[in-house]
């Protein structure tokens, strides 16, 4: 069976790891060392009593590469569980962006109107600037940022996605 060129797909992978020194480094080193993509990566402790962190990785590759990524992650010693949220059923993924706009006059009011339409909250305001907070799917954040670009957008800070399966399924 000669390898067939496969299409590149996106995947969101959640990993439950023992919260120990170097665990994140192992995950990141795995991606850089084997040439896999990281589109975004988030990590935070999630189970206080059990000392575990959850890493959410948005990645892309052929289905064979995505399978490899999961197998490679799964064999890391501190990794408890690996779940491909994209493949294992519907999931929700959200990220937050803080977006700074410096402008005045019509551009400033247009920025505020767009923020309202996106339900972004101004969380800091000065005479010539806004910082908007927006939570949502990655493409919604992308669209928001694109719209603000001509309206004085100067800085963006994004969290990367947190993702979880829909329904009663758990990692």
């Amino acid at each position: 069976m000669p390898p067939v060129e496969q299409p590149v797909v996106n995947a969101v992978i959640s990993v439950l790891v023992e919260n120990e020194t170097g665990a994140l480094g192992r995950v990141i080193g795995l991606f850089s060392g084997r040439g896999y993509n990281i589109d975004s990566l988030t990590v935070a402790p999630v189970e206080d009593g059990r000392n575990r962190s959850r890493i959410n990785i948005a990645t892309s590759g052929t289905p064979m590469i995505i399978e490899q990524i999961k197998a490679q992650l799964d064999r890391l010693v501190p990794v408890h569980r690996v779940s491909d949220l994209t493949q294992e059923g519907p999931h929700v993924a959200r990220e937050m962006a803080l977006v700074k706009v410096v402008s005045s006059g019509e551009a400033r009011s247009e920025a505020l109107r767009i923020a309202n339409a996106f339900r972004a909250r101004p969380i800091d305001t000065s005479v010539e600037s806004f910082v908007f907070e927006l939570t949502g799917a990655t493409d919604k954040l992308d669209a928001f940022i694109e719209l603000l670009r001509p309206l004085g957008l100067v800085e963006v800070s994004r969290t990367g996605i947190a993702a979880i399966a829909r329904g009663s399924r758990v990692l």
């Binding site: 192992r26 399978e67 490899q68 197998a71 064999r75 890391l76 010693v77 501190p78």
Partner: protein
């Protein structure tokens, strides 16, 4: 001096520390003893002085002083591969740890169980660029199966026990435990080996019965089956090789082996059709190309084996048994994946196949294989006469025949290059764990320390390093280790005055421009041996070869035998890079074919 031995404190209940009365270094030794460690290969230095002090005050573990930390790791690999037990290494911080890195990666690539204890600067100065400080866990992370930095004496015993578990279970590999000096100086509690399973690391060993049933169903339909075995069968223990032989006897299927799998099946077994891959036998590669069902047991479709991927075994349905799920569908898509220990999987195959099942009729396939065999792709053309130049392949064949005639248990290590391939082609192995070679990483300088490690484990056995004159110089300092411990290792140097494999590729791919591959200014190996208290021998023509081998085998101390061989002999057969298995070059007469190698092929290694 060893008064503490008998009354070494032991915790009554798992994970319940008792009041520590012994320092971390002494506790470390206790843990190693509980893990069954008998030998440590190491080299002292500032950060590990407390551990060396604890070693001095005991007699339960033997320490072998090497002459370079890289050699400590290779010696531990030789020890591990020849015994099936984990090898243990002890090196100091900074340069001690960085010198060990090549060996660690070598062990990772070849799945050799090791625990490497590295010294570290005290915890309170970590990060300050202290003397002999290195970020050892950072540096070794991609070179180990796992690594640990022990930040507190309370974690010491638990972590070291865990390191042995990780190194030896699942797919074996090297594990580093980085030990800051203050942790081994301060008192630490002893903990026994844990009985609970690891929190997150629980590799699957037993095969899924459904996958085994599917594999057997596929094997029963095969008209042109082939079994392809790798180092996983060796790593699964001698019982795995025994099970393989039963399965082969039961089915009558042909078997080929990777470089790392040699010895899993008896080289003389009629079902064994030789090593496959870049320098594999013609019949093995043509059978791989032509088979309709390929059963891979413990091999990983390495690029040395597959050649051009889109032409690799194009008409076969593939079964892949591997203990590492990430090895499956990594390079070659398979129809039936089986995650399991090789022994358990083969035994399950035998059960599912049925001991009473008659052998399937695959006579036409065997006729085809026998026709390929008749080509005799490994034939040696040794000119006759006392003064004839020695062909390197012939030297190895004679070494094989004469060691075999001696009846002694023989362990062969190699360096890396042409001599390694010739050894793989012409030295036959009837048992597992007798062949020690650097397969995945291809580390020149592996063979001498590996042979030393094997000799430590098997004092009565015949341990021979088949070497080239270039490779041997990469860890030649280990002649000192042989002398100190009176290790009767035999070093059989095939001297062709070139880094032969480099030269071969330059000849085939780079217009015979032998850039920097000539072994200039070589030492006098006989005098070199003598200066290290070993026996030095030399054969320069055919008439001297048997005498030198006989004298080497008869001497009960270390020997360096330099065999001057034909300078321009190349390793054939060969699948040129970027070519398919059915495009092999059989010999020099055909090597002009290599000129047809595409630019794409030239970019491959």
């Amino acid at each position: 001096m060893t008064a503490h031995t008998a009354e070494a404190p032991r915790a009554q209940i798992d994970d319940s520390p008792i009041t520590p009365t012994r320092n971390g270094a002494e506790v470390l030794i206790d843990v190693l003893v509980e893990q069954g460690v008998e030998v440590i290969f190491g080299y002292p230095g500032g950060a590990v002085l407390p551990i060396y002090d604890a070693l001095f005050k005991q007699d339960r573990i033997r320490h072998i002083l090497v002459r370079h930390e890289q050699a400590a790791v290779h010696a531990a690999e030789g020890y591990a591969r020849s015994t099936g037990k984990p090898g243990v290494v002890l090196v100091t911080s900074g340069p001690g740890a960085t010198n060990a890195v090549t060996g660690l990666l070598d062990a990772l690539m070849d799945s050799i169980p090791l625990v490497c204890l590295t010294g570290q600067v005290p915890t309170h100065v970590i990060g300050s660029d202290a003397f002999q400080e290195a970020d050892t866990t950072g540096i070794t992370r991609p070179c180990t199966k796992h690594n640990y930095l022990v930040k507190s004496g309370n974690d010491l015993a638990r972590v070291v026990h865990e390191a042995f578990h990780v190194a030896t279970s699942g797919r074996p590999g090297p594990v580093v435990v980085d030990l800051p000096k203050d942790v081994v100086v301060a008192p630490a509690p002893y903990l026994s080996r844990p009985t609970r399973p690891h929190r997150s690391y629980q590799p699957q060993r037993t095969p899924d019965p459904a996958a085994i049933a599917e594999a057997v169903a596929l094997l029963r339909t095969a008209e042109r089956p082939l079994i392809y075995v790798g180092g996983g069968v060796i790593n699964a223990g001698p019982e795995a090789s025994a099970a393989l032989r039963r399965f082969v006897a039961l089915t009558g299927f042909p078997v080929t082996s990777t470089l790392m799998g040699l010895g899993a099946i008896d080289a003389d077994d009629a079902s064994f059709i030789g090593m496959l891959g870049m320098h594999g036998a013609y019949e093995a590669n043509l059978a791989t190309h032509g088979c309709d069902v390929l059963l891979n047991i413990g091999a990983r479709f390495d690029d040395r084996v597959t050649g051009r991927l889109d032409a690799f075994s194009p008409d076969s349905r593939k079964i892949h048994i591997d203990i590492d799920p990430s090895s499956i569908n990594k390079i070659v898509r398979v129809a039936v994946p089986v995650v399991a220990d090789a022994r358990l999987a083969i035994e399950a195959l035998i059960d599912a196949w049925g001991e009473a099942t008659p052998k399937p009729d695959i006579a036409p396939w065997w006729r085809q294989i026998d026709a390929w065999r008749a080509i005799d792709s490994l034939a040696i053309s040794q000119p006759e006469g006392e003064d004839a130049v020695i062909k390197p392949q012939y030297a190895i064949r004679r070494l094989y025949e004469m060691t075999r005639a001696s009846g002694r248990d023989t362990f062969i290590s190699t360096e890396v290059g042409q001599h390694q391939m010739w050894a793989a082609q012409h030295f036959g192995f009837d048992r597992p764990n007798r062949w020690l070679t650097s397969g995945g990483l291809g580390t020149m300088g592996y063979g001498l320390p590996a042979a030393a490690g094997a000799q430590i484990a098997h004092p009565e056995a015949l341990c021979i390093d088949i070497a080239g004159e270039a490779s041997i110089l990469m860890n030649i300092q280990e002649l000192g280790t042989l002398a100190q411990y009176r290790l009767p290792v035999k070093i059989f140097i095939l001297n062709n005055r070139y880094m032969g494999m480099v030269r071969q590729w330059q000849e085939l791919l780079h217009g015979s421009r032998y850039s920097e591959s000539y072994s200039d200014a070589l030492p006098d190996f006989v005098k070199l041996a003598e200066s290290f208290h070993a026996k030095g021998l030399r054969a320069t023509k055919l008439g001297e070869l048997d005498g030198v081998i006989a004298e080497m085998l008869a001497h009960d101390g270390p020997v360096v035998a330099e065999i001057s061989v034909d300078e321009f002999e190349n390793v054939f057969p060969m699948i040129p890079s970027g070519a398919a298995h059915n495009e092999m070059i059989l010999g020099a007469a055909q090597s002009s074919q290599a000129a047809g190698i595409t630019e794409e092929g030239m970019m491959l290694v």
